[in-house]
Amino acid sequence: MRRNGSNPLKVAALLFLSGFYLGYTVRFFDIIPETLDSGYLYPLYPLAKASSWVLPYFRHGLRPSSLSALDVTRYNLFPAALLIATGSLFALPTMILLFIIGFFTGMGLVEIVQYAPVGAALYLLLTTGLFTASMLYCASTGFHLCSSVTEVIEGGEFRLSKTLLDHLLLSIGITLLSIAVQIMGVRL
């Protein structure tokens, strides 16, 4: 994945934003009239539901289930771990997953922007930004990991580049920050 001149973070951003744009378009124009809900792909939608910020959830006549801090942690750590770990599979699953996560993020954000109160919408946009940054750095780490694996396959030594370690540390930091900010939202 890592070749001369390539920038994994940019590739990750491009993939994520493409998915995001598609997801937002699909939901905005009612091509899919209901947001596909998977906390593992976009943890902020369940958070918005649990906080009653996304009104259409009530159409099924049930109060949204409560969301615990542990749920938020699970929802954030799983995609992060997935994006990093699948880098060793030549980064193809990482790319596909990142696109899908972007798709779900775009899809979930439509209802949040439209229905949530202004303060809550701004808070969720901020947390979406943090979640996006976390996913991009995780994917970038995965892409760097792919390069290391490829080098080993080509007969080289297994080396972890400095950028990989930097991005790994950033991934962990931003993911933890994102989780902390989301847990604050759960307690609101």
Binding site: Y21, Y24, T25, R27, F28, F29, D30, P33, E34, L55, P56, Y57, F58, R59, H60, G61, L62, L109, V110, E111, V113, Q114, A121
Partner: protein
């Protein structure tokens, strides 16, 4: 014999014409939200000279996630003797029939239908008011309904009990549209800058 026939003719002419008619008055009260709570009262009067049976039919398209206790689905039959009146109020909690689209709005299909023998003449009136507890409602379309001050005022008269369909249309999704426009402009700016 002629006198007897004349008397019979007079008796037949004087006898009340056979009529088989029921009067059904349906009164709706409640609220429409993403989950609707509606109470519906029935007053059914049988002025005819023979009994009539009427079936209440509650279609069983209940989604799985709704607790069965909040529904009273099924069938019910009542028999009204001549001159008898039936009065009862039911309370329903049910979700809206269609998924919510940002543009499409949604459709409420009031789930109760009355089944009356086709030979029976029916004088049916439906009245009531349903408060719409949803934001951004642009208009409500419903036959024999008016939408005023967040309330659907219903006043229908028909020969047969009809199903009530209420179509709620939302205002265009302005905030989501604004965000979408910002995204598009950002994309255009990015492309122009790159070129």
């Amino acid at each position: 014999v002629k006198a007897l026939l004349a008397v019979l003719m007079i008796i037949l002419a004087a006898a009340p014409a056979y009529s088989q008619q029921v009067i059904i008055e349906e009164t709706l009260e409640g609220s429409i939200s993403y989950q609707s709570n509606i109470s519906v009262g029935y007053r059914i009067f049988n002025p005819a000279d023979r009994g009539v049976s009427i079936g209440f039919y509650f279609p069983a398209h209940r989604p799985q996630e709704i607790p069965p206790s909040s529904y009273q689905f099924g069938e019910k039959k009542i028999y009204l003797s001549p001159g008898e009146t039936f009065e009862e109020t039911y309370r329903f909690t049910f979700p809206l029939a269609q998924p919510i689209g940002l543009w499409k709005g949604l459709e409420l299909r009031y789930p109760v239908q009355l089944i009356v023998d086709p030979e029976v003449e029916v004088e049916f009136t439906r009245k009531g008011r349903l408060r719409v507890e949803m934001g951004d409602v642009r208009r409500v379309v419903c036959q024999g309904c008016r939408f005023e001050d967040d309330e659907v005022l219903i006043s229908q008269e028909a020969d047969l009990p009809q199903r009530l369909d209420i179509h709620i249309q939302f205002a265009p999704p302005l905030r989501a549209g604004l965000f979408y426009s910002i995204m598009i402009l950002g994309l255009i700016a990015f492309v122009v800058k790159r070129r």
